[in-house]
């Protein structure tokens, strides 16, 4: 297996991009990634997307985007793993380069949630769950996570306020991110007083609905110096699954797909949680963020709030979590989120993160979840010397 580098990245601001179509949005991010890379061409395009089929009436995204970018006849296809599509695409792209099959692979994600009217978008997003045994009963993505949050609070006696504080933390970071959808600070009261969606989850516990695209370009590590002065290495990458139906989970309060995936990735990269300087984790809802922090090994079970209030997750703390603002503040263009996370950590390790920069970031981690924990894709990146 060859070692793999990320040469460059490109991303759009996350927002309700009314004036950009699916292909235009991806095109913007891709052109940014291609700028100044001097590579001879793209051998393969692997793109993550969840909702285009429902909301934009568009399947066959791989071919569409290869066509739009003028990179035909390169190999192109779409990877779908609900909101983990971006992370799954990273894993597929890594494998295609590491195996020796392709040299220059463009991978990214794009999502146009605003192509759907409110009800259509929620309905499409809900399809990450078990259609016959969860959606059948009127469950939606929010309500399934609310079941987990309610159980968590009951078992660990963690207050509603602690979750609100996590959202406040994300916004504090996102306020420094020029690509963020909601780049402003909020208070505990903002969260607690916002509209109740499914008890106890309120509007400000949830990532916003928005559009975006993020792209990275990979090549074999040994070739990277020829094409770029500043690149990073993917030292660990893994994916794992758990039951799709949350009532079948062996532990409702543990994202076992995250636990298994991250341990595989740590082993592959030969690091431990203590070695991670910066992490972009998957906080679709505050409960998802809390569980992710714990299951990635950054906190003991039921204790995320203690470390949060101690400042452990600030830039310069034990591990800088979501300097981008995370899904809560940077935004969550579903199938693209995993790609955003890798692009953001790449920029951190390249020293190009601007006001979000975590000083001396050497090792970074991304964690992208599909559904309510049914799959997780983890990548570990290292600054290359």
């Amino acid at each position: 297996m060859r070692r793999v580098a990320i040469l460059s990245c490109g991303l759009t601001k996350v927002e309700k991009h009314w004036r950009k179509s699916l292909r235009e949005l991806f095109g913007d991010a891709a052109k940014e990634a291609l700028k100044d890379t001097r590579i001879p061409g793209i051998d393969a395009l692997i793109v993550g997307n969840m909702c285009a089929s429902d909301l934009s009436d568009q399947n066959n995204i791989g071919a569409l985007l290869a066509d739009y970018l003028g990179i035909i006849p390169s190999t192109a296809y779409r990877v779908e793993a609900a909101c983990g599509s971006g992370g799954a695409a990273i894993l597929a792209a890594y494998a295609s380069v590491a195996s020796g099959m392709y040299d220059f692979v463009m991978t990214g994600g794009v999502e146009k949630l605003t192509d759907g009217v409110g009800g259509d978008t929620t309905y499409s997003l809900g399809k990450a769950a078990d259609a016959e045994y969860e959606l059948f009963f009127g469950a939606s993505f929010v309500s399934l996570n609310a079941l987990i949050m309610n159980h968590y609070m009951h078992v660990y006696h963690v207050s509603r306020e602690a979750f609100a504080d996590l959202a406040v933390f994300m916004h504090k970071n996102g306020a420094r991110n020029p690509y963020a959808q909601l780049p402003f600070e909020i208070t505990r009261e903002t969260v607690l007083n916002s509209e109740m969606i499914a008890d106890p989850i309120t509007l400000y516990d949830c990532a916003p609905v928005g559009d975006g695209a993020a792209v990275v370009i990979m090549c074999p590590l040994e070739n990277a110096p020829k094409y770029s002065d500043n690149f990073v290495e993917i030292t660990g990458v893994a994916g794992a699954t758990d039951t799709i139906n949350i009532s079948s989970r062996s532990d409702l309060l543990s994202l076992n797909s995250t636990v298994v995936a991250v341990n595989k990735a740590y082993k592959m990269a030969k690091v431990t949680p203590a070695d991670i300087d910066v992490a972009e984790i998957h906080d679709t809802f505050t409960i998802t963020g809390a569980l992710s922090i714990e299951d990635l090994g950054f906190s003991k079970k039921g204790k995320f709030n203690k470390l949060l209030s101690d400042g452990a997750f600030e830039p310069g703390g034990v591990v800088a979590i979501n300097p981008s603002g995370g899904l809560k503040s940077r935004g969550h263009p579903v199938g693209a989120t995993g790609s955003y996370q890798v692009a953001e950590v790449t920029m951190q390790l390249m020293g190009k993160a601007g006001r979000m920069q975590v000083p001396n970031a050497e090792v970074g981690l991304t964690q992208n979840i599909g559904g309510s924990g049914s799959s997780t894709y983890v990548a570990i990146l290292r600054r290359a010397r």
């Binding site: 809900g126 045994y133 959606l135 009127g138 469950a139 009532s247």
Partner: protein, 130 residues
């Protein structure tokens, strides 16, 4: 939901017909082709019990398409007497009266209607034992 999809799962959703791994005894619901615990594909029929308690719940106030008339309604995970769990609605109780751990029993109820010209979808929900 299409007619074939509703009709096909009636035994599972309306009669709580589940499966059990005949190798290791693992109760499997919803149905699966192989046992996740031991990997066996020797799966036999199993009838879930009709009583249990509420493991967790939430109140849905922004209903998805098709459930507009029902809001607010309660979604929950029930832990049955034999340890098996399932996700379903909790009915015949006000949101503010629901408590984690409440004993509940199975009832056959309407889940949704495909407008006023489509079919009516029924399944087992749970209500507080009285």
């Amino acid at each position: 939901m299409s007619v074939p999809r509703y009709w096909r799962e009636i035994p599972e959703r309306s009669r709580l017909e589940a499966s059990k791994c005949t190798t290791c005894g693992n109760i499997i619901y919803p149905p699966r082709a192989r046992c996740a615990k031991c990997g066996s594909d020797s799966i036999g029929p199993y009838q879930l019990p009709e009583r249990g308690k509420i493991l967790t719940f939430t109140v849905i106030r922004n209903p998805p398409r098709g459930f507009e008339k029902m809001a607010p309604f309660i979604l929950g995970i029930i832990e049955l007497e034999d340890g098996a769990r399932l996700t379903t609605q909790i009915t015949d109780v006000m949101p503010r009266e629901v408590i984690i751990g409440m004993p509940v029993e199975a009832v056959f109820r309407k889940v949704s209607e495909d407008g006023d010209s489509g079919i009516i979808q029924y399944a087992i929900k749970f209500r507080p034992v009285f």
